[in-house]
């Protein structure tokens, strides 16, 4: 059974149909890529899944539970994490604090215990220490030691993207949505990220849904690719099949060039 099932999802903004009857199911432990030209509705799809938008029609089912219409924080609590295209980090906090915020769901300190701890053994302090250890594992996994105590606002763009990935991992998601994870990264950083993504899939068993423009990465890591154009799914299937699909070539290169190639 699919872990995340999107069925006939549509999103209409006024007169603009941003998503038109999109259906997609993610098998547990797979990597699915969503590609398409700018403005195709890819990020809108993510926003509908994570609850930032309320879809106009259709349904999103996560682990057998219908989640569209639920608040984003509740969807996150079910085990759905995401990153953002334009990096949404907590800029004035350190990397450590950003990742600790990823642990928010797994921590329990409230307002009273959090404000009155006074020694190592206090509940709030013990919890802080335990979760710092957990975050340290993620810092090791993503090689973020150099950034550990620095303000994320001052980190290089590529590193910020990795911190954001780390924060999403800290929530221990079962499904992780990545919005252009390698955009703005250099070759070396892209290479590292590809390795991490396959580790995330193989070792952590996390199901991935990735929006990406970098075709080399898409072809290399994904099990399944969906192509969106003007909110409509125009092709879906194995990466190699999608690559040569006539509709896809048309969307990316224009009508004439397909005719010319044929």
């Amino acid at each position: 059974m699919a872990i995340l099932d999107i069925d006939n999802l549509s999103m209409v903004f006024g007169g603009l149909t941003a998503l038109d009857k999109v259906s997609l199911s993610l098998e547990k432990g797979s990597i699915t890529a969503v590609i398409g030209p700018n403005g195709a509705g890819k990020t809108t799809l993510f926003n509908c899944i994570t609850g930032l938008y309320k879809p106009s029609s259709g349904s999103v089912t996560f682990k057998g539970k219908r989640i569209n219409g639920m608040k984003p924080y509740k969807i996150a609590a079910l085990g759905l994490g995401r990153t953002f295209q334009n990096i949404e980090l907590f800029n004035k906090m350190s990397t450590m604090d950003n990742l600790l915020l990823g642990r928010h769901l797994h921590m329990h300190t409230g307002i009273f215990s959090g404000s009155t701890f006074f020694r190592r053994g206090s509940r709030a302090a013990a919890e802080e220490i335990a979760h710092r250890q957990k975050v340290e594992e993620i810092i090791d996994f993503l090689d973020l030691q150099h950034a550990r105590d620095r303000f994320v606002g001052g980190l290089p763009y590529g590193t910020q993207k990795v911190v954001e990935l780390g924060r999403a991992l800290a929530t221990e998601p079962e499904v992780l949505l990545l919005d252009e994870p390698v955009a703005g990264m250099n070759m070396e950083e892209k290479q590292d990220l590809m390795i991490w993504l396959s580790d995330i899939k193989e070792e952590l068993g996390i199901t991935l849904l990735v929006i990406e423009h970098d075709m080399r990465l898409v072809m290399e890591i994904s099990d399944e690719v969906m192509v969106l154009n003007y909110g409509e799914p125009i092709a879906q299937g194995k990466p190699e099949d999608v690559q040569n699909h006539p509709e896809v070539l048309k969307a990316y290169l224009g009508e004439d060039s397909v005719a010319g190639a044929a």
Partner: protein, 349 residues
């Protein structure tokens, strides 16, 4: 030098030997102060301590959670009136009425937090401004709270001890101030405080990692109002008399100035801002008494600045100091402190 070896070092209050020393020195100085200083100075420090409590609460909202408020005089008033009403009308002892007054203020904070869920920036500023103005109008019409005539503070009794001197009030206010400062500092280092900052830096990301925006935004308003309400309850006893006019719009603006001048998002900054602005307010009121400069400034203000004929040069000087601090150090006094610390770290090289 400051390599960390242990996760507890990230959150504990005192990081090093010198800090333990300075904290003990500070507490000793605060404990000895009422025995050494005159009544007026103790009164000044009482005002400072109350303003520190309010600035801490307001900074939690503005500096940490990123929600502006121009209506904190409203919470200050609610805390003061609620504490006095609980004591006079219900006969509750001070030590119960004060925290209850704080919680009543927190309740109003929660209510003001609800519209704040949908308002941001300038819109929120106007909404909170309206709240602050409305509260004083309503208080002026409630006859059982003295209406426009105001309320006289009852005698302050704690376990049979009647507090009737500035030094006595100091003994009540200062421990409360230290306790609340310690609590807020702890809060900002743990889960709830981090969630507040997350809302400030990116509310979308905060939601997507599981922070309940509704809960934490209203909680920030409630905690902030609680601190301000406690400050108000204490203020009623320092002043001895409160009326709706005590909590005018200028009070709200002064609170905001304390937080901005002290340093947004900093506990130490709140303390420094509250102390500096309280001191400036009191000292500048007497600027005309300065030798040579005083009469000159008074004359200048009569000729240039005033409309009504009253000397108002203290406000001009006050405004000038605020502007200079913000121009030279946008992080506020806390920024000065950090730079000084960094400078001395490598001393004498």
């Amino acid at each position: 030098m400051d390599m960390k070896r242990d996760y507890y070092e990230d959150i504990r209050l005192l990081d090093s030997g010198p800090q333990v020393f300075w904290l003990i020195a500070l507490i000793a100085a605060l404990a000895l102060f009422p025995f050494l200083a005159g009544s007026y100075h103790i009164y000044t420090v009482n005002l400072m301590a109350i303003h520190v409590i309010v600035a801490l609460g307001l900074n939690l909202l503005v500096g940490y959670t990123g929600q502006i408020s121009l209506g904190h005089a409203g919470f200050f008033a609610i805390g003061a009136y609620a504490t006095l009403a609980l004591m006079q009308n219900l006969g509750l002892p001070f030590l119960i009425a004060l925290p209850l007054g704080g919680f009543i203020s927190a309740g109003f904070g929660f209510l003001l937090g609800l519209p704040a869920l949908r308002l941001e920036g300038p819109y929120l500023a106007i909404a909170t401004l309206g709240f602050g103005l409305t509260i004083t109008q309503i208080l002026g019409r409630l006859d059982f709270l003295g209406g426009h005539m105001g309320l006289q503070s009852p005698a302050l009794n704690i376990f049979g001890w009647t507090v009737d001197s500035d030094a006595g009030r100091y003994a009540v206010i200062m421990p409360i101030c230290l306790f609340l400062a310690w609590g807020l500092r702890n809060l900002t280092k743990t889960r709830v405080g981090r969630a507040f900052v997350a809302i400030r830096d990116s509310d979308i990301a905060a939601e997507c990692i599981g922070v309940n925006l509704t809960y934490y935004k209203t909680l920030a308003f409630a905690v902030s109002a609680f601190y301000t309400g406690i400050g108000g309850g204490l203020m009623a006893f320092v002043l001895g008399f409160i009326s709706p006019h005590t909590f005018n719009i200028m009070v709200s603006i002064m609170f905001l100035a304390m937080v901005v001048v002290g340093g947004l998002g900093s506990v130490l900054g709140s303390v420094m801002g509250a102390v500096l602005i309280t001191w400036l307010q009191l000292e500048l009121a007497r600027i005309g008494e300065l030798p040579y400069l005083g009469p000159l400034l008074t004359e200048l203000s009569k000729q240039v600045f005033t409309v009504s004929g009253l000397p108002n040069v203290q406000y001009v000087v006050f405004g000038l100091i605020m502007v200079l601090i913000i121009i030279f150090e946008p992080l506020g006094l806390y920024g000065f402190w950090i730079r000084t610390k960094i400078y001395w770290r490598t001393w004498p090289f």
